[in-house]
């Protein structure tokens, strides 16, 4: 393998793939960065086996030559030394060559490094993009999907499948669902017609991977291509491929959890309600569950209260736009409620209650795409 490359470009790619590399891996080869040279360009890969990031440097872009004198080949180099070497090289361009014993030679100006590499055959084989099961989304929309669901994944390992976000495509909609069995967050978006023949059901993406992906992709309107294989999911932007392993197992059926009808419906300003609950939770913090109580009052008013005998008590009154249906007294976790309200950007929010012991639904008014469900807490 041999190529000559712009140092800054290589450095940028290295920084991308380094995000996937962890020092605590069980497989020794994963401490390295895989470098692959093809006639089209250079591809770097970093992985901790859960998440893999590939960064591609095309040979030529917008008429500018990025990489020259390519002889195809591949090698794995130590990620502990390689980035620092590249960063500190004296010239703007550098040359990398390898021999058949996986010795890597890096030259730039007067400096010459010899690094011991490893056989790229030892590196895990990552799935490649299949066009027949892929679809496209806009970057900012994907980020929104992630942000609106990933907070609700379970953090405890008792039911590992719940640490992921379930991605489902049916009747021309894509659904993202996350739950930790106390609350549920879901978001759906309509898909364009030509993608409607796609159908996934049991795709569960680890919440950690999605949080990582959210950090990596830029907030713009570029297209991102998503492709699902048997074991992995691939997110592909222009030159960056992000792969995550899927979670193994069946995601529980969540649609049955959502109550069909409601007994009490509250329509109120999102921000006002959130702030009121936030204040009420100040004193509830001492309590283990961070529980606040919500009560409907006459004249479309809500009373939110919390009482911790050792600390004190708080009462908040919120004037709502409308309260329809039966009177209600309900207790729930303020943290879950705040989480749910935080991701709603609309000014008005609609809450559907079905009694004090039944889960309730929070939706932005006039928007069916977001649905949040919270289980109440039993108090005496």
């Amino acid at each position: 393998m041999k190529f000559v490359i712009q140092r800054d470009l290589l450095m940028e790619s290295i920084q991308h793939v380094m995000k996937a590399i962890s020092s605590r891996v069980t497989i020794p080869i994963l401490t390295g960065i895989k470098i692959e040279a093809t006639p089209e360009g250079i591809k770097l890969t970093g992985s901790d086996s859960d998440v893999s990031i590939e960064s591609f440097i095309p040979k030529e872009e917008d008429g500018i030559m990025n990489v020259e004198e390519i002889t195809p080949g591949s090698v794995v180099v130590q990620s502990k030394y390689f980035p620092d070497i590249i960063r500190k090289l004296p010239l703007k361009t550098l040359e990398i060559t390898t021999d058949e014993k996986f010795q890597v030679t890096i030259t730039s100006g007067g400096s010459e490094f010899h690094l011991n590499g490893q056989d790229a055959m030892e590196y895990p084989q990552l799935p490649v993009m299949h066009t027949d099961n892929s679809f496209e989304l806009k970057n900012d929309l994907l980020k929104e999907l992630i942000r609106q669901t990933v907070f609700a994944v379970s953090t405890v390992e008792t039911r590992p499948i719940l640490t992921g976000v379930n991605m489902r495509i049916d009747d021309q909609h894509m659904h993202f669902v996350a739950t930790d069995s106390h609350r549920l967050a879901s978001r759906k978006i309509p898909l364009e017609n030509d993608q409607s023949q796609l159908s996934f059901n049991n795709v569960v993406i680890p919440g950690k991977s999605l949080a990582e992906l959210n950090k990596i992709i830029d907030d713009n309107e570029d297209e991102i291509t998503i492709s699902v294989t048997e074991n992995q999911i691939l997110f592909q932007t222009k030159h960056l491929y992000f792969l995550s392993r899927l979670l193994d197992g069946n995601y529980p059926e969540t649609s049955r959890l959502i109550p069909e009808q409601s007994k009490t419906t509250v329509l109120t300003k999102t921000k006002e309600l959130r702030e009121a609950i936030d204040r009420a939770s100040l004193l509830a913090k001492e309590n283990r569950n961070n529980v606040v109580k919500l009560e409907t009052k006459a004249n479309d008013r809500l009373e939110i209260s919390s009482n911790t005998p050792e600390v004190g008590q708080v009462t908040e009154e919120v004037t709502t736009d409308s309260i329809n249906g039966e009177d209600l007294k309900i207790s729930f976790s303020a943290k879950y409620m705040i989480d749910a309200l935080k991701i709603i950007q609309e000014d008005y929010v609609k809450i559907d209650f079905t009694g004090a012991m039944r889960p309730f639904i929070i939706k932005p008014n006039e928007n069916d795409q977001i649905l949040q469900l919270i289980l109440p807490v039993r108090t005496y």
């Binding site: 080869i29 895990p124 074991n231 193994d248």
Partner: protein
């Protein structure tokens, strides 16, 4: 690289069981491979992993040439997880990472294998966490637990695994392994006969006490040949000083037993079977002194001495009596 045919030379039963299961595609979800040190249980675990993961497995034997096989050998296969004791024991965190690993889909194919070597060194907590996960195995997940001591494994784990017992090595095999490891042929022969455990044989090779014991046996025999009268004195002064407790005395008697066996071997001109090869000349010198009948008689006496020691007869008396028998 080993294949099942090679394994079947030393472990016919285990290899037959495993190959049958692979051929019939009925690999169990968990195995416990139990065998003494030197029974290459690690090789068997690797081979089994290869047979499961390799896509070109023919007749239970993996191809040994594809990328999968190579990476299993180098420990770089992402679908194989090998857990070794971290320090003295296998800790809960190690089992926890393993557990996390297996909630994910496989990196490449779906077949996932985890190997826990020295599984008896799992802490109780770690073992209990593993238990949950042995109970509800993933679809294509195989666990291979290795141990030298299946009594150190929790019963609850034992009952959830298929136990494959490896046959202990014979003297000849131990000797061969020891020579391969670079021990001299003489020492390898002696140690393989004194103990049938590879680790213990390796320990004996490093043991000052044992070297000295050997020297004493040679000295005692030369005294018995040259000036018999001093033999009792030697026993009193040197022998009992070195062989202190009952186990050590028993060891000493074992060595004497081997020596007289050697005398008989030389009488019947079976030199290959000789244990004290390095001291062949000394043994040879004894031939004039002890006839075959004498040697047989003394062997019986040594056995008797060993029995007496077990019956709590005073060690000095046992040794003195034996020495008198040997003085002739």
């Amino acid at each position: 690289m080993v294949n099942w045919q090679q394994i079947s030379e030393t472990q016919p039963v285990a290899s037959k069981m495993l190959t049958q299961m692979i051929k019939q595609d009925r690999v169990a979800h968990a195995y416990l491979i139990q065998g003494d040190a030197g029974t290459n249980s690690r090789e068997i675990a690797k081979l089994l992993t290869k047979s499961i993961v390799c896509r070109y497995t023919r007749d239970a034997n993996p191809c040994q040439a594809c990328a999968d096989c190579h990476r299993i050998d180098s420990g770089n296969h992402p679908n194989m997880h090998w857990i070794e004791p971290d320090g003295l024991s296998i800790k809960t965190e190690q089992v926890a990472t393993l557990k996390k690993e297996f909630t994910y889909a496989g990196v490449e194919s779906n077949e996932k294998v985890y190997v826990i070597s020295e599984a008896d060194r799992m802490t109780t907590n770690a073992a209990n966490r593993l238990l949950k996960f042995l109970e509800e195995p993933g679809e294509k997940t195989t666990a291979i637990l290795l141990t030298e001591n299946s009594y150190g494994i929790l019963d609850t784990i034992l009952s959830r695994t298929q136990v494959i017992s490896l046959r202990p090595l014979s003297h000849m095999e131990i000797e061969r392994v020891l020579i391969e490891e670079g021990m001299t042929a003489d020492n390898a022969r002696l140690f393989s006969i004194v103990t049938n455990d590879l680790t213990k044989a390796r320990e004996l090779d490093q043991d000052e006490w044992f070297a000295q014991a050997r020297k004493l046996v040679v000295q005692l025999m030369s005294i018995l040949r040259a000036n018999q009268d001093e033999a009792l004195l030697f026993i009193e002064k040197n022998w009992l000083d070195h062989f202190k407790d009952r186990d050590q005395l028993d060891r000493g008697l074992d060595l004497l037993l081997l020596w007289f066996k050697d005398i008989i071997y030389l009488h019947v001109e079976n030199e290959d079977a000789l244990v004290f090869k390095a001291n062949q000349e000394d043994v040879n010198a004894c031939l004039w002194h002890y006839s075959r009948q004498d040697a047989t008689h003394i062997l019986a006496q040594i056995m008797n001495a060993k029995r007496e020691l077990l019956q709590n007869v005073h060690p000095t008396l046992v040794m003195e009596e034996l020495t008198l028998q040997m003085q002739r």
